[in-house]
Amino acid sequence: MRIVNPTFGLAAAAGETVTLKPVNWKTDAIALFSNSKPNARELLDGIRAKLGAFRPVDNIDFVAKNSASQGAPKELIEKVAANYRGALLAIAD
């Protein structure tokens, strides 16, 4: 018996591939990116404290989406990409 595959779909055009640059976690500017859930901030606070123990410069910033239920706007992602060498994303609930 021949059936139609209910999961069939054509692959969408692939996104642009970017080359990752190495991050110096001791000195580079880092964004701690929250999904805007309360517990994400808790996790990021802990990471900031750990990083602060061995980093000589204070160039770590918290960044958050406008809404916990919606994706980060493109402008925010571009801003993080432009201003930080590394980003840590917390998706805690």
Partner: protein, 345 residues
């Protein structure tokens, strides 16, 4: 779950219906209830029904594949739809693909939201969609299978597999199906699709990512203002996403309640205003931790009261159901919209 490299048509050998259902369950295609077999012939009959709507579908998030009419129809067949339901199902899919609906967020969230599907206009009667007694419940093939078909598409095309991409903490029975018709005949105001700018003769599907209906029981109030006191009290809940998500919501008024409100001079606009003003949650009902979070994310109280909506326009109102003193409140996921799509003739 099969990936995009799969064939559109699969030869599954000589399986009977029971064996097909075992096979489909193994593939992850099932919502847990029995499925019809999506044979090529059945699928072709469904596809024939949407020849008048040849707009391409965009990639469906989160899986980001572009479905074919055949693969969409396979889900509608499996759900138990009749071929004539298929244009309503594809309209519902187009609705949830509105970027403002936030399909990825609504499918991946831990919230219990499910796609509410409301049908307006002549298609309600042409397809046999229940708009009256028990309209949110069982017993009507069109209601049961149109909503189910959309759910199967979100599982099989969008990839919202429970426990994997669909991360809902507890889920919701409405995820099996949540489809009903407006009771336009007993709506003393304007049908919802006309409120949204469509012609009364258009058939329109409206979708919102919502919780199941919360009952608003009021047998005692004999005045419109009395009913709105009950409605506002039922809507003022600190446990719904709308307390901080600040998105849309529906109030589906039962015909008897609607008649009382109309008699007392209320319009849809004045009902919205009244409910927006009164369906607020007092700070004493919200924990200190949550208040801190809400305020820090821009949801500041008005004095000691937290609003459940951004404006009266977030409160969408229509009439459905049959005899009895009940209405319903359907809060949304929050970060979503109410999308309307005309069913292609």
């Amino acid at each position: 779950m099969k990936d995009t490299a799969d064939q559109e048509v699969i030869d599954i050998g000589d399986l009977d219906v029971e064996a097909f259902n075992e096979f489909a369950a193994e593939q992850g295609w099932s919502d847990g209830m029995p499925l019809y077999v999506p044979t090529e012939a059945k699928v072709a009959a469904f596809v024939e029904r949407v020849r008048g709507d040849n707009r391409p579908f965009p990639p469906v998030p989160p899986r980001q594949v572009v479905p074919t009419l055949q693969s969409l129809a396979a889900n509608a067949v499996m759900a138990g739809c009749k071929p004539e339901y298929f244009p309503a199902v594809t309209a519902a899919l187009r609705g949830v693909l509105d970027p403002a609906y936030n399909l990825h967020g609504t499918l991946a969230t831990t919230h219990s939201c499910a796609p509410m599907v409301m049908v307006s206009g002549p298609a309600r009667h042409e397809l046999g969609i229940n708009c009256g007694s028990n309209c949110f419940g069982q017993g009507w093939r069109a209601n049961a299978t149109i909503g189910r078909a959309l759910g199967l598409m979100l599982l099989n095309i969008a990839g919202a597999k429970p426990g994997e991409m669909d991360r809902s903490t507890q889920g919701n029975p409405a995820k099996f199906t949540f489809c009903f018709g407006e009771n336009e005949e007993e709506n003393p105001w304007t049908p919802y699709h006309v409120q949204r700018g469509f012609a009364a003769g258009d058939s329109v599907v409206t979708v919102m990512s919502g919780e199941g209906p919360h009952n608003l029981n009021d047998h005692g109030s004999t005045s419109g203002i009395g009913l709105l006191t009950t409605f506002a009290g039922g809507m003022a809940t600190p446990g719904a996403n709308t307390i901080y998500g600040k998105g849309p919501m529906f109030v589906i008024i039962g015909p008897e309640h609607a008649a009382t409100l109309k008699r007392d001079g209320f319009t849809i606009e004045s009902i919205r205003q009244e409910l927006f003003a009164r369906s607020r949650v007092h700070a004493s009902r919200i924990s200190a931790e949550n208040q801190e979070t809400y305020i820090s994310t821009g949801h500041k109280p008005d004095g000691d009261w937290f609003a459940i909506a951004r404006s009266p326009e977030d409160i969408h109102i229509t009439v459905a159901g049959g005899p009895g003193k009940h209405s319903a409140f359907i809060p949304s996921f929050g970060g979503t919209t109410v999308a309307c799509v005309r069913i292609a003739p």
